[in-house]
Amino acid sequence: MALLENRDDGATEIEDRFTLVGDEDALPESGGVIVSLSRFEAEKGALIAREGDLGVWLDSDESPSTIEGDLGSLAVVACNFPAFSDGRGFSYARLLRERYGFKGEVRAIGEVMLEQVPFMIRSGFNTFALRDMKSLEEVKAVCDEVRVVYQPTGDGQATALQRRLGR
């Protein structure tokens, strides 16, 4: 599994500084952790007080509205795609960025299909756990395939309309 980050000069492979901790597992002494929404809700105080960065992963039926008030304590929100066809995470990423103003890492995990990465970037994800990546070149190629966008999203890319209006 490769963790990729979208940067200005394209996708880059990065080291994962978070550990995904299962609901029954003990928290590591130090370092970043990502926990499920239910564990976060059950142990919120202790998790926030703990040393090290904190993240929550949302399953596809868990809306980010449930953690809206806690986003200031979170370094990362991960959205799980239980199947590539379950596209709720695209809306969640847009809400996190555009509605709640979340500036931390928004990560796509689960069944992430390579061809979905450009849509994910546009929706506000900046990191992706890609299950079977062949090469970084391939990822970059896929991200550069379509140069025109019609929809304004929080990614700030100039839409066809903005170009037409010279804005």
């Binding site: 596809s60 809306s63 590539f84 066809s85 379950d86 596209g87 709720r88 695209f90 809306s91 969640y92 847009r94 509605r99 299909m113 061809e115 979905q116 450009p118 849509f119 994910m120 546009r122 929706s123 395939e145 379509v146 140069r147 025109v148 966008v149 019609y150 929809q151 304004p152 999203t153 066809a160 309309l161 170009r163 037409r164 209006l165």
Partner: protein
């Protein structure tokens, strides 16, 4: 009509290149059929019973002669010399080779066409009134808004993996020819009390195995909020729509299960959060797109059309064609000519390359090079001078396209059925063929307005729920069987038909239709149409005749 600018061109060309690379990876075995499937579906490429099928969008049903010739060329060069117009203003090619599909898309891109989002769980081709821009009483040309929606929905990053497919239809007329009430979102242009033009928004209509007539969730939406409201509906649906059962995943079920009031509240709440965002449409962009749909330069005519009238008086065949296939136009001295591509005994919707070329020529000669395809699978020349109608009729006759049956019994909507489709339970084309062979044109004209719609399975691609007479193919212990329902309508008075009783074999069902029509002809009052008569009398007299009991 709309012409691509550099941005529109670049997107479609990029998309062709992207698909070419995906097909190459598939052919080289780098990706499996399972991995390829979602990619090809996003470009309208299905794997059918015998071969791949490519569905090409004809956005809101409008095309020019150059595009029609390209469709003809593709049918000739890459297929078996014909294409199939669908009920959603698309054209399907049933025999393309996988390795040639990128070439087909490249050919289409040359004439500003594509197959983007003609399948998959995304926003599909936006459909409209085939008489848009020509219809009398139209508030505004709805294609302006269809084009705005086309661009907004194309490769939408948030809405390309919806719970299920999503269909939008927009009309600018009170008379609904676009079946807007049986779409996921239907919009009807209207004026508010202050005279401002906007939209009534209808959500949650649909056919398939759980048919619903859509419900109005907003009586009036101002134009500038068109996109933000669409985005709000889609965002609510994307999060709320069921993912556990594909048969319950359409927005009609979401609306039904959530309740109209709560669903509307959620949409309005979302909309209030985004309506003043960058989605608010600047007037200059609406004006830019609207300029593409300015009416052609109509000549100033008195309404009298002496040449047309004289021919009609002397030639009963022309008179019949005029009566059934020609509609009123908003410009005086002009008419809307429907071309029936449903000659007796042929599969509805199938059109040969030669016919497409002939229609393109006629569009150049008679209709400012413009054509439309309709959701009842016919073709329209939208702007014909009335006094040119006799000349057009002669050309149509020569091309075998002058069947005077628009709106009549043989103007059937029919899905491809078990002859082509992997989902079908029964054949539908042969039933349509038998029915059209059984009735002479004179008899059909005597029966008058009648919509028969036939689907080969409960997915209802043949719209049987909204047929005045709907026929549904089912599988009964391995045998093809047909259920009959009555009273449906896709018009502004949309209604779903009801099954009359036990089903029939393919041979029987044709006789059943005959009994239903006999009953109507005996019981109708004066000019009463079939559907009016049915609404007055209900099912009983028809059931009684068919089954021998009430």
């Amino acid at each position: 009509m709309y012409r691509y600018d550099e941005h529109d061109h670049a997107l479609v060309q990029d998309r062709v290149k992207q698909f070419r690379r995906q097909v190459e990876r598939r052919i080289a075995g780098e990706i499996s059929e399972e991995q390829f499937r979602p990619l090809r579906l996003m470009n309208g490429l299905y794997l059918q019973l015998h071969a791949y099928m490519l569905r090409v969008a004809i956005p809101y049903g409008t095309l020019d002669s150059r595009q029609m010739r390209k469709l003809a060329y593709i049918a000739r060069r890459y297929d078996k010399g014909y294409g199939h117009f669908t009920t959603r203003q698309n054209i399907q090619y049933n025999w393309p080779k996988l390795e040639e599909t990128p070439d087909i898309l490249a050919e289409l891109a040359e004439v500003e066409m594509h197959a983007i989002q003609t399948s998959g769980n995304c926003i599909r081709n936006v459909t409209s009134d085939q008489y848009a821009g020509a219809a009398k009483g139209e508030i505004e040309d709805p294609r302006i808004w269809c084009e705005i929606a086309r661009q907004w929905s194309t490769l939408h990053p948030e809405f390309s993996f919806l719970p299920r497919k999503f269909k939008i239809a927009i009309t600018g007329c009170e008379n609904d020819r676009a079946a807007v009430k049986v779409h996921d979102i239907g919009m009807i242009m209207k004026r508010d009390d202050a005279g401002e033009v906007g939209f009534e928004v209808i959500v949650g209509g649909g056919l398939g195995r759980t048919p619903f007539v859509g419900k109005t969730i907003r009586e009036f939406l101002p134009k500038e909020d068109f996109l933000s409201y669409l985005e709000a509906v889609l965002r609510v649906y994307n999060q709320l729509g069921r993912r556990d059962n594909k048969y319950k995943a359409r927005i009609k079920v979401t609306l039904h299960e959530t309740g109209k009031e709560e669903f509307t509240r959620l949409v309005e709440e979302e909309w209030n959060a985004i309506k003043d965002s960058t989605l608010k449409l600047p007037k200059e962009e609406v004006d830019r797109i609207a300029a593409h749909f300015e009416p052609p330069a109509f000549k100033a005519f008195e309404d009298a059309a002496p040449a047309c009238d004289a021919r009609a008086a002397a030639d009963p065949e022309f008179a019949a064609w005029l009566r059934h296939n020609v509609n009123e136009h908003k410009a005086s001295g002009y008419a809307i000519a429907n071309i029936s591509v449903k000659p007796v005994g042929e599969p509805p919707g199938d059109v040969t390359s030669e016919q497409m070329d002939a229609m393109a020529d006629m569009a150049d000669e008679f209709s400012f090079s413009e054509l439309r395809v309709t959701h009842v699978q016919n073709v329209v020349l939208p702007h014909v001078e009335k006094d040119q109608l006799p000349a057009l009729f002669d050309k149509l006759t020569e091309a075998g396209l002058a069947t005077a049956n628009v709106g009549l019994l043989s103007d059937i909507i029919c899905c491809p059925g078990l002859d082509y489709c992997a989902l079908a339970n029964a054949r539908s084309i042969p039933i349509a063929q038998e029915l059209t062979k059984k009735y002479t044109l004179e008899k059909q004209q005597e029966v008058g307005d009648l919509q028969i719609k036939i689907s080969g399975c409960i997915n209802a691609c043949g719209h049987h729920h909204v047929g005045h007479i709907g026929i549904l193919g089912v599988d009964r212990k391995g045998e093809e069987h047909y259920q009959v329902q009555l009273g449906g309508s896709a018009s502004e008075e949309a209604a779903l038909g009801k099954i009359i009783g036990r089903g029939f074999t393919g041979e029987e069902v044709v006789d059943v239709v005959d009994k239903i029509l006999d009953t109507y002809l005996e019981l109708r009052q004066e000019d009463e149409s079939f559907i009016e008569c049915f609404r007055r009398l209900g099912q009983d007299p028809f059931k009684e005749r068919v089954y021998g009991t009430a």
